[in-house]
Amino acid sequence: MELPSSTRPAVQTIDITKVYRVGHIDYPALKGVTLKIAKGELVSVVGPSGSGKSTFLNLIGALDPPTSGRVIIDGIDLKKLNEDGLALLRNLRIGFVYQSFNLIQRLTSIENVEMPLIARGVPEKVRKSRSLKMLSAVGLAPKADKRPTELSGGEQQRVAIARALVTRPALVLGDEPTGNVDSKTTHEVLSYIVQVNKTLGTTFILVTHNPDVANMTNRVITFKDGLIEKEQYLQRMDSYTGS
């Protein structure tokens, strides 16, 4: 019955809803989203504030359970996993990149990058060298021992990307990954994402407000009022790196 790995969708949602209850009032954030994202896709999710994009990202990131419906990541129904199983899935399959970077302030760049490897029990020597390699891939090896407060916004975001990719996840979720960086850094970050997507086949789902970001993805999904308003397939601009 199970589809071969290569043809299983990276992410599949079946009629997912999410209702937040504050006091006695229910706020429906998602009202039934059904979606398939194939492996190796580079998808952007756009829409006005409060349209449910971030909620959607949290649900497919296994951080929050849906109120109803099913989330299936690489053939695994999240409903069937307990807390530990969800944590393991996040650690092994998913990388997160946030607008506010979400680095641990008291740790250095390399220590931040090491964190997901520590959870897996990777020996110190191995994880140090992997983390350093990852940092040099994003051009930050010289700042491995600096703390986030000593880095610029763009540098912090590159550390966060290194942390998300050091585990070689199949799926990377970005919540406004370029929201807090200047346009030059935005270009650098995007071209790096495109490169990883192309060379490693990593699936990216990026929530964004920035049309430039949306325009360089394969597919733009527009959310409105907790529902998918429209989906649009784009011709990827492979020359983006050079622009």
Partner: protein
Amino acid sequence: MRTSDIFKLAFKALRDRKLRSFLTILGIMIGSAIILALIASSSGLSAGVQSQVSKIGANTLTVSSARQFFGGGSSSGQTYQLSQQDVSTIKSFQGVSDVIPYYSQRATVSYGSNSIGDAELIGVDTSALFTMYKQLSLYSGSLPDSYDASAAAVGYSIAFPTGSSDQLTLNQMISITLGGSSSGSLTFLVKGIFSEYGRVLFSDIDATVFISLQSAQILLKTQYFSGLYVMTNTAGDVTTVQQEIESYYGTEVRVMNAGSMVSSVESITSQMTVFLGSIGAVSLFVAAVGITNTMFVSVMERTREIGILKALGYKPKQIMGMFLSEAALSGVVGGVGGTILGYVLSFILGGSLSMFGGFGMGGRPGQTSSTTFTPVFTPELVAFSLLFPIGIAVLAGLYPAWRASRMNAVVALKYE
């Protein structure tokens, strides 16, 4: 996740908040130090008192003239003085096996280049010495003969004073100046030297010169005794004999019962242990509340960090382990520090407890007969003072750590 990594991260987290960690640990240290010091010094005190009892024997009473306890006010002439008549009287009481009279006076002993000021001269039937002081033995020589007025046997520290190369040999002359007397000095020939013995409740045997009862009577020019040792047939007779003597003499004499003094010292010691021990327990409890509080603040502050850890795939029990090991590490440092501090403290405390223990035991005015003792550290006690704080710390950290592990990742990530 490797255990070594958990502890490395915990250590880093504690180090990043040096002052707060230090204050938390200080609380644990004080609690564990107080408990260790108290138990060590009170069991040391008990052991010290018990060893003195074993020396003097539980079937011994001391009778002395009441005057001697009130600053030597002999001017009134009203004080009763103990004579040979009293020896016979008390000997006739039911349950008494023997009565040994003695003379005693403060004295300064000199020979060669040594002058020992804090010594005591005791005149007693020397053949009774081994009955009076259990386990007393001669280091060299023999006991002075009863009729040899110039013979003496001396305690170990008179013969071998600390910090002096000049030591006493047998048949050497020593000169003795009596305290409070202007009658010049007396000279004795050393016939025997006792082995090291230590204190009994009233005096330091090692710093005593023993001469025969007869020579003391002649040299001190008095027929009245300083006191009487009363030996009863059994330890059980002690109380009835004490009552008999007291009802016969009224307030004229003072009767002291070694066993009852020991039990009163022990009851004081145990009361102090309970009192100070509860202070220690309370301070450990306060320290535990402190840990819980610090941990809660820490969990609050690091809410976002916890959210990040969850997003990175840390399992709830890993997050709990990380916070618990911070608490445990505080407990380890607090326990080790507290044990060291408690070790030092027990000697300081020992000093003040021994003054306390010596209270009321002075046989003569101006004499401090303090009970010296050393704190007792059993392996169990040391293990307890090392491990108990860790247990307390882990217990105190349990709830905050659990809260951290149960946090909702999405909410935690939004926390500012």
